[in-house]
Amino acid sequence: MSPSARGRLGRLVAWLPLRDPLALAGLAIYLGFVLVALLADQLALRDPAEIFYDADYRLLADLPPGPDFLLGTTSLGRDVWSQLVHGAQSALLVGVTAAVMVVGIGTLVGLLAGYCGGLVDTLLMRLTDIAFGIPFLPFVIVVSAFLEPNLWNVVLAMALVLWRDTARIIRAQVLSLRARAFVEAARATGSSHRRILFVHIAPNVLPLSVLYGSIAVGWAILTEASISFLGFGDSGTISWGYMLQDAYASQALSRGIWHWFLPPGIAIVLVVAAGFFIGRGYEERLFPRLKG
C-alpha cells in the first residue's frame, strides 16, 4: 500500500467528521438507530403484530397515547410504539444490505472500467448508461411485484439500478489516479494489475465509496418505505412504510390520528437525514483533496 493511500485510509477512520455539528448529530442518530434496532425486542414491550382487547373482549382500537400504549394503538388494536421499534430493525437491514450491494457493485464496475479502459470500459459504461435510463421506483415496483414481494427482492431491485452513480464517480476518480506517480512507480517495479488495482488504487477511492454508501442507506430506506406504502412490500415484515400505508388506508388522516402517522415518518426522516449529514461531513473533507 502506498503511503498516501494508507494515510488517506487512516484518515477515513480517524477523521470521522466530528467537528461538523451536523455530521456529529448524524453520527449520534445512527448510533441511536442501531441500538434501537438491536434492542428492538426489549424496547418493544409488546408483539407488534398482536391485536389487543380489553377485559370485555372489545377491540382496543385507536387508543390515544398513554402509559399502557406509549403511542396509542392502530385501528386494528395493535401497539404503534412496538411497531415503530420493530420498524427500525427492518430499516437497518434494508439500509445496510442495499448500501453494501450498491457500493460493492458500483465500486467494482468503476474500478474495472477506469483501470482496464478500452473495450471493458466501453461495455461497462454502456451498461451504466442503461442503468441511468431505468426509472428507479417503477423498476423496483415491477420487479418486486413479479418476483415474490419480500424484503430481499426489494433490496435486489434497488441494487440493480442504484450502483450507477457510484460507478461513474469511481471510474472518473480511477482515471485520474491511474496517471499518478505512485501508480506509475508500482507499475515500473513490476506489480501485477490485480495488485495495482486493489492495493494501490482501491484504498484511494474507498472514501468516495463510503460517502456514496452513507447516502445509499438513506435511499434504500426511503425506497422500501415507498414500496411498502404502495402495497408491494413484504407483508410479513413490519416496516415504517407498512405502518404509514396502514395508517393511510385506515383513514388516519381524515380522523386526525397524528400519533399514528407522524412517528414512522419522523423516524425515516431522522435516519435518512443522518446519512445525508454524515455524507456532507465527509464530502467537505474529501473534495478539496480529490480536486488536487
Binding site: 435510463g133 431505468i134 417503477p138 415496483i141 415491477v142 406504502f229 404509514l244 381524515s254 425515516i268 437525514a273
Partner: protein, 332 residues
C-alpha cells in the same frame, strides 16, 4: 479535417440520439425479459382469461404469441416502434390510448412542481451563498436536507391532514369534483377547480424537489462569487444587488438548467407515490394500478413511456450542458 461548429454539433447530436435509441432498446428488451420470466403461462402477459375467443386469436396473431420466443421478441420490438402496446385487461382499451390519455396530467403536475421548486430554490440558494455563514444558511441548509430525507408520500399525508382534513381548504384527491362535465383540455386545466386540486400534490412535490436547486445554486454561486469577473464588477462600483443577479447568478445557472431537464425525467418516474396519495390520475398511478391488478400490457406500456421520457430528458440535459458551456463542447 476541421469541422465547423455546426457540423460538429450535428454530429454530436446524432451520436447522442444513437445512444438514446440504444438505451431505449436495451430497456425495452429488459422489460420483455422480465415479463417473459413471469411465472405461469407466457401468454398470460398479453391475454386475459376473460377475453373472447376472437380477441385472443387477434392478439395472438398481433404479438405472435404462438411463435418461438425470438420471433416474439422481434415482433414486440416492431410493435413498439409503432407505439402498438396491446390491449389493457382491465380497461379493455388500447394501452397506447390509456397512457397517452393520462400523460398530460403527470406532465402538468411535474412541471408545476419543478417550476415552483426551482423558483424558490434558485432565489434561496443565491441568498444563502451571498449571505454566507449567516443565520439563513444555518437554518435553511439542515431544513432542506430534512425535506429531501422525508418520504414524498409522508409529506403529502401531512399536507393532506392539515390543509384538507383539518382546515378543509383544499380537496383531498383527484382532479375534479364528482359529476363535473368534461370540457376542452385547456378550459379544464385552467379552471379554478383543477388548480385547487393541483395545489397539494404540486406543493408536496415542490417541497421534496426544492433541495437540489437550492444546494446546487448555493455551491455554484460560492464558486462564481470568488471569480475575477465578479470582483471586477464590484470594483467597477456596481451595486451589490446588480453584481449578485447580473454577474454571478447568470453564470451560476448552467448546472441548474441541466438539473432542471434531468429533474423532469426523474420526477415523472418518482411521481408514482405522490399520484397515489392524492389519487392524481397520472402515469404513475396508472402503473401502480396496473401492477396491482396484474394488467401486464398496461404496466409494460406505462413503464416504457416513463422510461422513454427519462432517457429523452437525460439526452436533453446532456446537450443543453454542452450547448451552454462551450468549454465542455471543446473538450468533447
Amino acid at each position: 479535417m476541421v469541422l465547423g461548429r455546426h457540423a460538429r454539433g450535428l454530429r454530436l447530436a446524432a451520436g447522442k440520439a444513437g445512444q438514446l435509441l440504444f438505451v431505449a432498446w436495451a430497456i425495452a428488451s429488459l422489460l420483455f425479459l422480465i415479463f417473459r420470466l413471469m411465472p405461469g403461462n407466457p401468454l398470460a402477459a398479453f391475454i386475459d382469461p376473460s377475453f373472447t375467443a376472437e380477441q385472443r386469436v387477434s392478439l395472438s396473431r398481433q404479438f405472435g404469441l404462438d411463435r418461438p420466443l425470438f420471433e416474439q421478441y422481434l415482433l414486440y420490438l416492431w410493435n413498439l416502434a409503432q407505439f402498438e402496446l396491446g390491449q389493457s385487461f382491465f380497461y379493455r382499451q388500447p394501452v397506447a390510448d390509456l397512457v397517452l390519455g393520462v400523460f398530460p396530467n403527470t406532465l402538468l403536475l411535474t412541471l408545476t412542481a419543478l417550476l415552483l421548486a426551482y423558483g424558490v430554490g434558485l432565489a434561496g440558494g443565491a441568498l444563502v451563498a451571498w449571505r454566507r455563514g449567516g443565520w439563513a444558511e444555518k437554518l435553511i441548509l439542515p431544513l432542506v436536507l430534512i425535506l429531501r430525507a422525508a418520504p414524498e408520500f409522508w409529506l403529502g399525508m401531512i399536507l393532506l391532514a392539515i390543509f384538507s382534513f383539518s382546515l378543509g381548504w383544499l380537496p383531498a384527491g383527484g382532479t375534479a369534483v364528482a359529476g363535473a362535465t368534461s370540457v376542452g383540455f385547456f378550459e379544464r386545466v385552467l379552471s379554478i377547480e383543477f388548480l385547487r386540486h393541483l395545489c397539494l400534490p404540486a406543493m408536496t412535490l415542490a417541497l421534496y424537489l426544492v433541495g437540489l436547486p437550492l444546494l446546487l445554486m448555493r455551491s455554484t454561486m460560492l464558486e462564481v462569487l470568488d471569480e475575477d469577473f465578479v470582483t471586477l464588477a464590484r470594483m467597477q462600483g456596481f451595486r451589490e444587488w446588480t453584481v449578485v443577479v447580473h454577474h454571478a447568478a447568470r453564470n451560476a445557472l448552467l448546472p441548474v438548467v441541466t438539473a432542471f431537464a434531468l429533474g423532469i425525467g426523474y420526477s415523472i418516474g418518482g411521481n408514482v407515490v405522490i399520484e397515489t396519495v392524492f389519487s392524481w390520475p397520472g402515469l404513475g398511478r396508472l402503473l401502480v394500478r396496473a401492477v396491482q391488478s396484474h394488467d401486464y400490457p398496461l404496466a409494460q406500456g406505462a413503464f416504457l413511456l416513463i422510461a422513454l421520457v427519462m432517457v429523452t430528458m437525460n439526452l436533453v440535459a446532456d446537450l443543453l450542458y454542452r450547448w451552454l458551456d462551450p468549454r465542455v463542447a471543446h473538450v468533447a
